[in-house]
Structure formats: C-alpha cells, structure tokens
C-alpha cells in the first residue's frame, strides 16, 4: 500500500486515540511535560509534572484490521523523579520531567534518559515473560525449605508468565547543574550525551556518573552582566563532534568539540536581524528560542520562537531559509499574553521522518503543520469532541480581525489555557502524538 511521503496537506489526518483523564479538572501532576517516540516508533514515552514516565507500545499490525495501524497501549509506567529538597540552598527541586530521550536499541531491553531540573537518569525498561520454577531450596512463594526435607533434586526450568515490564534506574547523573536543565541530547556515537541548563552545557559518558565535562559556559563573571541564557541544545544527528545551542536572544550557536575543550567560541552563529518595524516591549521575549531540532538529514535545523518556526540551512548563518508564522494574530496581543504569562510558554517543534513537514503547537489545543515542499500549512485541533476513531480532522482557521467567516474562530475566543507545547512525529510513519495539558492524542493519516 503506497503511503504518501510527507505532505502535510495531502495527508488526511484522522483521530486515532486519546490517553488521559477525561475530566476538565486537571490535576497538576498529570500535566504532560514531554513526549518522545523511540527510534523505531514502536514506543512512545511521555513525562509529566508529577515525575512519572508512561510508555506506550504500538500493537503489532493486525493483518485483519488493515484499516489502521497498531494502537498504542500502556507498556510501562514508573516514577522517574521525586521532588527533592536542596537543603543547602533551601530550594525545592521539582520532579517534573523536562525531557525524555531514547537510546537506540542494542539488545532486548530499552533505555531512555529522563531528566528533571537537576538530575538525569538512565532507565532500563526490560520485559520479563518467563520465570524460573522448580528450585530445590525455595518454595514457589519464595520461602526457604528446610534442607532436611529435600529428598530429590531437580533442575529449575523457565516457565512462561504474564508479561511484566520492569523499569529500573541504571545510572543517576546528579549534581552537575546549578541551573535548571532544559535539554538533553544523545550523541550519534551512542556513548555520550549532553545536558544543558540556563548557563552551561555538560558532556557525559553514559557509563560514568561521577563526572562530566563542561563544554559551554556562558555565565558571566558578574551576573549583573547576564544578558542571555541557553534555552535548548542538541547534538548533530550524524557528526558526533557538532552540537548547537539556542539562546534567549534568538541566536543559535553551532560548536565543534574538536576545536577546543571549552566550546565557548562558536563555530557558527545563526542570527536573523530583527525587523525594526516589529519592535515592542516584548520583542526580546518573543525572539527567545524555545526549541531547536536538527532535521533527520542533519542539513537543516529548525527553531521555534514564540510566533514562528524557522528553518535554517547549516551553511547559511545570516538568515533562515524558511520562516513559518504559527500564530501571527497574537502579535497584537502580546501585552495581554505577557500579563497572563502565556508569552513565556515554550513551544516545541518536530520534523516528520522525511524532513518535508514540520509541526508545532499553538493555543486552543490547535497545532500546526507546514509542508516545506508545497508551502501549504494546516491547523488542526486536538479535541475529544466529534472525534471517533478514523474521523478525519477538520482544518481550523483563526480569524484575526474583521468579519469572522463561518467555522472560523476569532482570536478573542481562543482558550489560552489549552496549549499544545509538546508534539512528536513517528520517525517512519505518519503518526503523530500531540499532548494537550493532560491528554495525549494520537493521530494517523488516513489509510485506505
């Protein structure tokens, strides 16, 4: 069956599943804070504000039910981080999971890194579907037998049992960050990874927990001179010596670790000059980059600031090659968005598997896709209403001003509490995971 490659608008997106509580009253701990597919797309991990990680696994495609791909069902749930207290600084450390990154699979077990503000943990998720039975010295329930009652010997054998998925923390990388960790990124060498906080980036080896190398440090000697912070960082998907980090000033720096041990001096600086006609009190805030993602090919990178998504060619530093406006109608509302703190929302963005379409979230549970080839874009809504499995999503439109057409939504009736900050795209298929405040929506393209 031919599947269309890319094409945000050629695809008809259908509702597939929604996970999470139905009630409107959102428990704070249930707020989803990160979403990530693994390298094969079979597993989908979410982290929440309560420090839990929930992993969904895609069912194997059922040949009979060929109208849809496998559903995602809960595979494993575990408490990754707990709230902590730093007694020296009298600071509470939130357990909210900021990022999850999967390691490529090397054996039967799966590994992922999850991080909160201060500590990164390597988790091993393994399946157990057999258990040994027939011990000589132990009863089945584990109690030890009296050796004098043993009259025969037998060899224990493995017998099948109900599948159990266990998650265990294999490494804990702690005490390396003074500021809040905002990013982790696994290197293409699959041995090292970086973690970035507001002012520093550290390089770790996955096997070594008691030390890390500091590779970027932008903390000024005098904190009064602080003008920008690091907002996101990522390793290049192919070059194990290259990484980028974005700043609150709207710049992206590409660094080469071969150049020096401390990569304070960038190899490339990506910055677009500001448009002076758009200057306002809030220009600096909306230029702050909230997410940076390399394309799968490694040739491009995408950045998300408050109002737009920009695609940069790594070979061109002075301006992005493509810019997509996510919700330009908000530009006139920046003051209100500042008041209600929405202007500080950090939206993420993602590429599809073929790097032809990019996706990001917006308000009112809307999310947007931009097709780089056709230059078309679409706005969809993640909502439980009118969404039965395989219902095709209807494109939405926001009316900025003036006459509102039928089916359009005016800017003033947007719900700014319903925001989609985290989205993920299956690495190979047209399956997307979209996180609203406390629900996870899965959409697929229509399969004929």
């Amino acid at each position: 069956m031919a599947r269309r490659a890319g094409g945000g608008n050629d695809i008809q997106w259908c509702f597939s599943q929604v996970k999470g509580a139905v009630d409107d009253d959102v428990a704070e701990a249930d707020i989803i804070s990160t979403v990530e597919f693994n390298h094969s797309g079979e597993l989908l991990a979410t982290g929440d504000k309560g420090g839990r990680v929930v992993i969904f696994q895609q069912e194997q495609e059922n040949k009979i039910q060929s109208h849809s791909r496998g559903e995602y069902n809960v595979y494993s749930t575990f408490q990754s981080h707990e709230p902590e207290f730093d007694y020296l600084k009298s600071l509470e450390i939130e357990e909210k999971i900021n990022k999850i990154r999967w390691l490529p699979q090397k054996n039967a077990a799966q590994f992922l890194l999850s991080t909160n503000d201060k500590t990164i943990k390597l988790w091993k998720i393994s399946e157990r579907d057999k258990r040994p039975e027939g011990y000589n010295l132990k009863e089945e329930d584990g109690r030890y037998r009296d050796p004098t009652t043993v009259t025969t010997l037998r060899v224990p054998v493995f017998r099948p049992m109900d599948l159990m998925v266990e998650a265990s923390p294999r490494r804990i990388f702690a005490n390396a960050h003074t500021y809040h960790i905002n990013s982790i990124s696994i290197n293409s060498d699959y041995e090292t990874y970086l973690s970035a906080d507001d002012l520093r980036i550290n390089l770790w080896h996955l096997e070594i927990t008691d030390r890390s190398f500091n590779i970027v440090d932008i903390k000024p000697a005098n904190m009064e001179e602080l003008t920008e912070v690091i907002t996101a960082a990522e390793f290049h998907p192919n070059s194990c010596n290259t990484f980028v980090y974005s700043s609150s000033k709207g710049t992206i720096r590409l660094c080469d670790m071969r150049a020096s041990a401390l990569c304070d001096r960038h190899s490339k600086l990506f910055e677009e000059p500001e448009d002076p006609s758009n200057r306002s009190f809030f220009s600096e805030i909306i230029s702050s980059i909230s997410d940076v993602k390399f394309s799968h090919s490694g040739r491009y990178m995408m950045t998300r600031d408050y109002l737009s998504v920009k695609i940069w060619d790594l070979n061109m530093e002075n301006r992005p090659v493509e810019t997509y406006q996510v919700h330009e109608y908000l530009r006139s509302k920046l003051c209100s968005l500042y008041e209600n703190d929405c202007i500080f929302d950090k939206f993420e963005c993602c590429w599809n598997g073929s790097d032809s379409v990019v996706m990001t979230g917006s308000y009112n549970n809307f999310f947007r896709m931009f097709d780089r080839n056709t230059k078309r874009d679409i706005t969809l809504e993640a909502s439980r209403e009118n969404n039965k499995p395989r219902t095709v999503l209807k494109p939405r439109k926001v009316c900025a001003s003036g006459k509102r057409k039928k089916d359009e939504i005016s800017v003033d009736s947007l719900d700014f509490n319903k925001k989609i900050l985290h989205t993920a795209w299956h690495p190979k298929e047209n399956i997307i995971a979209v996180a609203t405040t406390n629900n996870l929506y899965i959409f697929q393209d229509k399969v004929n």
Partner: protein, 327 residues
C-alpha cells in the same frame, strides 16, 4: 502619554511577576526572570523618555526640574525608538518631582543606577522585600506588615522566599531598610526612622530560598540559589556617577548630602516599591490604583493628603516615576 501609562502598567506587572517567582516551586527560573527584567528595562526607558512634562506634577513647586543629561551610555535610541517617536533629550524627560523630598537628587542619579545594573535593580527590589521593611509612615508600615506576615506564615519552610525570612523581623523589628550590602551610611537623612538595623539577622538567612536569580551579586557563586540575594542597593556600583551628576543639581539645595543620600534614598525608593508589592500581593492583579496609593504613603510623609487621592493614576506618577527611576 499613553506610552507612559502603558509602560507604567507593564512595570507593575513585571514586578509582580518577579515577586511571585520567588515563591514558586522549583526555585527562581533564571530565563523567565531575565526576560521580565528586559521588559522592565524597556518599559522604564519608555517611561523616562516619554515626553509628558508638566502634566502630572503633584508637588507644591509645580515646575519640573530638568534632569541632568542622561549618560551617553543610556541607549536613548533603544526600545523607545521603535515606538515611532524618538525619545526626546533626557532633559525633557519626565521629572515631575519637585517637592523637597530627600529622594529628589537621587532621582537624577537613578537612571544611571538603573543603566549600570538594570538587571540588578530588579533583584534589589526583591532583596528589599526579603530583608528590608520600612516605610516612612506608620500607615504604610502597618499596611505592609500584615500581608508580609501572612505571606511569611504561609510560606512556611524554605519553599518560598518568605519562609526563610526571619519571622521576627516583620512585626517585632523596627523598620529599617538597610540595603543588603549594608552600605547605607548611618547618617542617611531621615526619610525613614532607622533604629534597630535589621541587617543582623540577614546573615542568618544564609541562603534565602529564592534569591532573584538574575543577580546573585556578591556571592556570585553557585547559581540560582547562589548566595543570598546579596545584591547591595543599586547605589553601590555607580557610586561615582552621582558625584558627577551633582555638578548640575537637579533641584536646589540638596547637593551636600546628595551623595550620602543617594544610597539611602534609592533604598528608600526600593522599600517604597516594596510596599507597593504588598499592594500587588494583597490586591487583585492589575489593581494598579490601590498599589499606588499604598506606595504613595511611603515617600509622602509630608503629604498625607495624597493617600486618598482622586486621580490616583496621575498623582501616582510621582512616586512611581521616582521608584521606577530607581531601577
């Protein structure tokens, strides 16, 4: 004028955010506070450069004293330019204050103070919130006290910035607003009674839970929690500047003790601003008028009548402008 009101509003909102960030779980978010401080700075610049000279003078003298020329370092062509009207020369900027208030001379210094350490000043407020009480008038003090106590009681334990703050310092302590750096010369002329200095317990605070992350000045060490909010009053750094400034006295008669007063008065303004924070805390968000009234009672020891003013916005431009300038 609208720009000024807008800037005014943005400043108050920004300060509210910074204040609230101190009691948030997880500690102060450096990024967000940095952005807020940038907005604060932009708003301040617009506020100072918006040409609205005599409109909202509330002082008896009624004639605005032209402020000294702003430092060349002052990015006068900065954000206000974007508004489509280039900021007028600083001399025409809004200096409505002419009442013989001790803060006046410091007002002229203040832009420099702010320029030097724009980020710091923000934290200066926070510091004062933590460590400094004191308003000039009893009325303001009692108004401030109650919400502070409430806040302190609520934020029990180190989770919130208030909790660590020694409870005893609230009610029992006499108002004192030594900036944390303890730089106030004892001879600071009196806008505020300062008897028992409440600086003493501050070391005991040690690591306040949520020091304004934007400037852990003195201790610079370890980050968000890095050191107590040891930000001395903004007066500390630019101490030299006011001296130069004195060559062009902004208003008469205060040159002698201007320098001495500078630190103290900036701290005074900060504490005044601090009292307006209590307004922010106890009133609904955006209750700008009420805050201003509360804050007014601070400096206006000599003008008790202004506490219940009819046109709070215009009137309050006075103390607001001085307070804002302090940043």
């Amino acid at each position: 004028m609208e720009f000024k009101l807008e800037a005014h509003r943005i400043v108050s909102i920004s300060l509210g955010k910074i204040y609230n960030s101190r009691v948030q779980r997880g500690g102060i978010k450096l990024h967000k506070n940095l952005l807020v401080s940038l907005v604060l700075r932009s708003a301040r610049q617009v506020y100072l450069s918006d040409p609205c000279p005599g409109l909202y003078l509330a002082g008896p003298a009624g004639i605005p004293a032209p402020p000294p020329q702003q430092q060349p370092g002052e990015p006068a062509a900065g954000p206000p330019a974007g508004w489509g009207e280039p900021p007028p020369p600083a001399a025409r900027a809004s200096w409505p204050e002419t009442e013989p208030q001790p803060e006046r001379p410091s007002v002229s210094h203040a832009p420099r103070v702010g320029d030097e350490v724009p980020v710091t000043t923000v934290t200066g407020v926070g510091d004062v919130l933590q460590g400094g009480e004191a308003d000039a008038t009893e009325a303001a003090w009692s108004r401030v006290e109650r919400p502070r106590q409430a806040a302190a009681r609520e934020a029990e334990g180190p989770a919130g910035g208030w909790g660590v703050f020694p409870e005893g310092s609230l009610a029992a302590r006499r108002p004192c607003f030594c900036p944390l750096g303890g730089e106030d010369p004892p001879g600071t002329p009196a806008t505020t009674p300062r008897t028992a200095c409440c600086c003493a317990p501050r070391p005991a605070e040690d690591e306040p839970p949520a020091p304004p992350a934007v400037c852990p000045r003195k201790r610079g060490a370890a980050g968000v929690g890095g050191g107590p909010a040891g930000c001395p009053a903004p007066g500390s750094t630019p101490l030299k500047k006011p001296r130069r400034n004195l060559e062009q006295p902004p208003s008469g008669g205060e040159d002698d003790d201007a320098e001495e007063m500078e630190t103290g008065n900036v701290a005074n303004l900060i504490s005044i601003f601090g009292s307006s924070f209590s307004g922010l805390l106890r009133k609904s968000p955006g209750g700008g008028r009420e805050e201003e009234e509360g804050e007014e009672s601070g400096p206006e020891a000599a003008e008790p009548g202004q506490i219940c003013c009819d046109k709070p916005v215009l009137r309050d431009m006075n103390p607001w402008s001085t307070a804002i300038v302090a940043f």
